[in-house]
C-alpha cells in the first residue's frame, strides 16, 4: 500500500508536487441518483483524478418531516410512521417509540410481549444485515452475494408476513406489547430457518470473507479511529469495528435482553473489513438469541391493556435501542394531552454520514463506495 500516498497539488500553479505535471481538480456530484448511495444522498466530491480530495455530504432529499407529523398525531397513530423512519429494521424502531411512551406512562409490558419483541427484533436484525451483505457485495462489484442475500431474507420476510401481515413495514410492536400473538407453527418454522441459515452464513464467508480481491478492497480502507468514532457518536457495528465494546442490549438493557446470553463481536482497526465481519458475526449471535427466545418463550398475555383514549402524564424521556445500524434514539416530550409535544428521532446513519468527510481525503473513489456501503446507511434515518 505504499503507493497510497496522497499527492499534494499546488493551488497556484496547479502542478502536483510529484511529477511537475499540470493537473486540475474537478468537482463531481455523486448522487442524489447514483447506484451506490443507497437512496438519495448526495456527495459533492472534489477529485484529483481518481483520488478524492474532499467530500461534502448533502442530505435532506428524503426529509419527510416525520417529526412534524408526529406532533399532530395521537400516540397510537404514530407507530406506523415509526416503521417508515427505519424501514430496514422497523421492529426496532417501533420498539424504540413504544419503550419511550411506556416509560413515561409507566405501562407494564407482559413477559410474553417482551420475549416476542426480542424474537422479532433479532430476526429483523438478521434481515437487515442480509441487505447490508447484499448491497456491500454489489458495491464492490460482486453481484451474486446481492441475490443470495435477498434470497435468504425472503425466508424471514415470510415469517414476518405470517405474523404481522406485512412484508416490510410491520407495525407489529405496539404500545403495551405486540399486535398479535405468534401464528400456529411459527416456532417450528423459525427454528427450521435458523438451522438452515447458520451453514448459509459460512457460504457467504466462502464467497467473500477470504476472497483475495475482497480483502485488498476492504482491509485498511476507510479506517475510522476509536477517538473519531466516539467524537462523532458513531454507533452499532461501526463503533464496535473501531474496537469499542458497546452494545445497548448489554450496556443499557431494555426489554428483557438481560435474560439472554450473547457475545458482542468487535473489530480491531475500524476498517471496512472489520465493519463487514462484525455484522457477519452479529448474524450468528442473533441466531442464538432467536433460539433462546423461542426456547424460553413464556405463556400468557402478549399485550397490556391500553385505552383507545390513551394519555400519558406530562413528562419526557430519551430512549435508545440497538438497531442493525446502531444506536437509535427517540426523545419524547409529553404535555399530558393525547399527542406528543415533541418527538425527536436520532438515527445512527446520521452520525456516520457526518463522519464521512473525515475519512475521505486521499482515498480512491472506489474506496468511497466501499466505505459508504460498509456504514450501511439508509437515508430516512438520516433525513427523517
Amino acid at each position: 500500500m505504499d503507493d497510497e500516498k496522497y499527492i499534494e497539488i499546488d493551488p497556484v500553479t496547479g502542478t502536483s508536487s510529484d511529477s511537475g505535471f499540470p493537473t486540475e481538480e474537478f468537482m463531481v456530484n455523486m448522487g442524489p441518483q447514483h447506484p451506490s448511495t443507497h437512496g438519495v444522498c448526495r456527495l459533492l466530491l472534489t477529485m484529483d483524478g481518481e483520488n478524492v480530495k474532499h467530500c461534502q455530504p448533502h442530505i435532506g432529499y428524503l426529509h419527510r418531516a416525520i417529526e412534524k407529523i408526529c406532533e399532530n398525531r395521537k400516540y397510537q397513530m404514530i407507530t406506523p410512521l415509526m416503521d417508515r423512519f427505519e424501514y430496514l429494521m422497523s421492529m426496532a424502531c417501533g420498539w424504540l417509540y413504544c419503550l419511550g411512551v411506556e416509560r413515561i406512562a409507566e405501562v407494564e409490558v407482559p413477559e410474553r410481549g417482551e420475549y416476542l419483541r426480542v424474537l422479532m427484533t433479532e430476526l429483523n436484525r438478521i434481515a437487515s444485515h442480509l441487505i447490508f451483505l447484499a448491497t456491500f457485495g454489489l458495491d464492490l462489484g460482486a453481484v451474486t452475494p446481492f441475490l443470495y442475500g435477498l434470497r435468504d431474507r425472503e425466508y424471514i420476510v415470510d415469517l414476518f408476513e405470517e405474523t404481522s401481515g406485512q412484508r416490510l413495514l410491520y407495525n407489529y410492536i405496539r404500545i403495551g406489547g405486540v399486535a398479535k400473538d405468534l401464528s400456529v407453527g411459527f416456532e417450528k418454522k423459525c427454528l427450521k430457518f435458523i438451522d438452515y441459515f447458520l451453514p448459509i452464513i459460512d457460504d457467504y464467508e466462502d464467497l467473500l470473507t477470504n476472497n483475495p480481491i475482497f480483502l485488498t478492497r476492504t482491509k485498511n480502507v476507510g479506517v475510522l479511529s476509536r477517538d473519531l468514532a466516539l467524537d462523532y457518536a458513531a454507533a452499532g457495528p461501526v463503533l464496535r469495528a473501531s474496537g469499542i465494546k458497546w452494545d445497548l442490549r448489554r450496556d443499557d438493557p431494555y426489554g428483557c435482553y438481560d435474560k439472554f446470553d450473547f457475545e458482542i463481536p468487535t473489530g480491531e482497526n475500524g476498517d471496512t473489513w472489520d465493519r463487514y465481519i462484525v455484522r457477519i458475526r452479529e448474524m450468528r449471535e442473533s441466531c442464538s438469541i432467536v433460539r433462546q427466545a423461542i426456547e424460553g418463550l413464556p405463556e400468557g398475555d402478549f399485550k397490556a391493556k391500553v385505552k383507545p383514549s390513551f394519555k400519558p402524564p406530562a413528562g419526557e424521556c430519551y430512549t435508545r435501542v440497538e438497531s442493525a445500524r446502531g444506536e437509535m434514539g427517540a426523545y419524547i416530550v409529553s404535555d399530558g394531552t393525547n399527542k406528543p409535544t415533541r418527538l425527536k428521532l436520532r438515527g445512527a446513519s446520521y452520525n456516520h454520514i457526518m463522519a464521512l468527510p473525515e475519512i475521505c481525503p486521499g482515498i480512491k473513489i472506489a474506496d468511497l463506495v466501499a466505505i459508504f456501503a460498509s456504514f450501511d446507511s439508509i437515508m430516512p434515518e438520516v433525513d427523517r
Binding site: 453481484v143 478492497r217 473513489i365
Partner: protein
C-alpha cells in the same frame, strides 16, 4: 458437414458465372464479409442471451422467460427496442467524436473476426501475420472507449475512458508476451499454421504453456473489460462509465461490442492454446465453437463470482505480477526450445 467445402462450391459457382480475377475476389470477399457481419450479429445476440441465462442460473433465478423458448429471442426484442429509442446527443458533446466512437469499437471487433480460423479451410483471410493483425486490431477498442469518454462531456464518462485507456494499454503488454511463447513453439504467425501444429489433444499448447495460458486468460479478462476488471464501466462507482451518455443504437453498439470482444479473446485462446478447430468426429467448426463458448462460459463464471478490483491494485497487478511472469514464461520457453533443438534436433 464441412463448411469449407461450401465456400469452395460457392467459389466454383461464381467462377462458372464467368467471373474471374479481381471481380471474383471482390464478389467473394463481399459475400464473406456480409456473411461474417450476419454471423457476428447472431453471435452477439446469442451471447447476450446466454450471459443473462448463465448469470440467472448462478444466482438462483430464471432469467428471461417471456420471449420465445426460455427467452431465446430476448436480445432481439432488446435490439428492436434500442432501434426505436431516441438518439440523444447531449449538449456540449464533441459531436464527431461522439458519433464515431461506437462505430470504431464495432469496426474493430468486426475486423478482428477476419483472421480467426473458424474451421478447417474456414478462415476469411489466412494472413501470414494473422495473430499480429488481431492483436493490433483489438487494441483499437481502447481508442474508441477513450473517444467515448472524452467526447461525452461528462465527468463519470471521462473517468471511465481514462480508466479503460490505462487498463487496456497495461494489460496489452503481458497479453502479447504470453502469446509470444506459443509463437516460438509454432514458428509461425499464421493462425491456420498454429492450429495445424496442435493436432491431437496432447499437442495442444496449453500443456507446454500452462503459465502462458493463465496469464493470457487474466489479461484477456482485462482486455474485454469483464469483472473483476470491469473498471471502465463500473456501475456502482461510475454509474455506467464511458457509455453513460449514450442512448439507443449507439449504446447497443457498445453493448454488443463488449460481448463480441469477449468472444474474440476466447477464440484467440482456443486457437493458441486449445488446439483450435482440432477434434475428432464432429466437424471442425463445431469443435471451434464448443471450445470457444466454453471459454466464454468461464469468463461469465468469473464475472458472477468475483468482486471488482480497485484501479491502483489493477495497475499494480499488471506491472508487478503479470509482466514479470510473462517475461519468465518467455525466457523459459526460449531456453527450453533451444535446448530441445540442441539435444534432439
Amino acid at each position: 458437414m464441412e463448411l469449407g467445402g461450401l465456400f469452395k462450391w460457392i467459389g466454383e459457382i461464381l467462377q462458372s458465372m464467368g467471373l474471374s480475377g479481381a471481380w471474383l475476389s471482390l464478389v467473394a470477399n463481399t459475400l464473406v464479409a456480409a456473411l461474417l457481419l450476419g454471423l457476428l450479429a447472431v453471435m452477439a445476440l446469442f451471447l447476450v442471451w446466454w450471459e443473462r441465462k448463465v448469470s440467472a442460473h448462478i444466482q438462483d433465478r430464471l432469467g428471461p422467460m417471456r420471449t420465445g423458448w426460455h427467452g431465446a429471442i430476448q436480445t432481439l426484442a432488446d435490439g428492436l427496442k434500442l432501434l426505436q429509442k431516441e438518439d440523444i446527443t447531449p449538449k456540449g458533446v464533441d459531436r464527431p467524436v461522439f458519433f464515431w466512437a461506437p462505430v470504431v469499437v464495432y469496426a474493430a471487433c468486426f475486423m478482428a473476426y477476419v483472421a480467426i480460423p473458424w474451421g478447417k479451410d474456414l478462415i476469411p483471410a489466412d494472413l501470414n501475420i494473422g495473430i499480429l493483425y488481431i492483436i493490433a486490431i483489438t487494441t483499437f477498442t481502447v481508442i474508441s472507449l477513450l473517444m467515448a469518454g472524452w467526447s461525452s462531456n461528462n465527468k463519470w464518462a471521462l473517468l471511465g475512458g481514462m480508466r479503460s485507456a490505462a487498463q487496456i494499454i497495461s494489460y496489452e503488454v503481458p497479453l502479447t508476451l504470453s502469446i509470444l511463447g506459443v509463437l516460438i513453439l509454432a514458428e509461425s504467425l499464421s493462425m491456420q499454421t498454429i492450429v495445424q501444429r496442435q493436432e491431437g489433444i496432447f499437442n495442444w499448447y496449453i500443456w507446454r504453456q500452462p503459465l502462458g495460458f493463465v496469464i493470457y486468460i487474466i489479461a484477456a479478462t482485462a482486455e474485454a473489460n469483464r469483472t473483476p476488471f470491469d473498471l471502465p464501466e463500473a456501475e456502482q462507482e461510475l454509474v455506467a462509465g464511458f457509455n453513460v451518455e449514450y442512448s439507443g443504437m449507439k449504446f447497443a453498439m457498445f453493448f454488443l461490442a463488449e460481448f463480441l470482444n469477449m468472444f474474440t479473446v476466447s477464440a484467440i485462446a482456443t486457437t493458441l492454446f486449445l488446439g483450435g478447430w482440432n477434434g475428432p468426429i464432429l466437424p471442425s467448426w463445431m469443435w471451434f465453437l464448443i471450445k470457444t463458448l466454453f471459454l466464454v462460459f468461464v469468463f461469465m463464471w468469473i464475472r458472477w463470482t468475483y468482486p471488482r478490483l480497485r484501479v491502483d491494485h489493477l495497475m499494480e497487478f499488471a506491472w508487478k505480477w503479470l509482466l514479470p511472469f510473462a517475461f519468465l514464461n518467455l525466457i523459459l520457453t526460449g531456453v527450453g526450445y533451444y535446448l530441445w533443438d540442441v539435444i534432439f534436433g
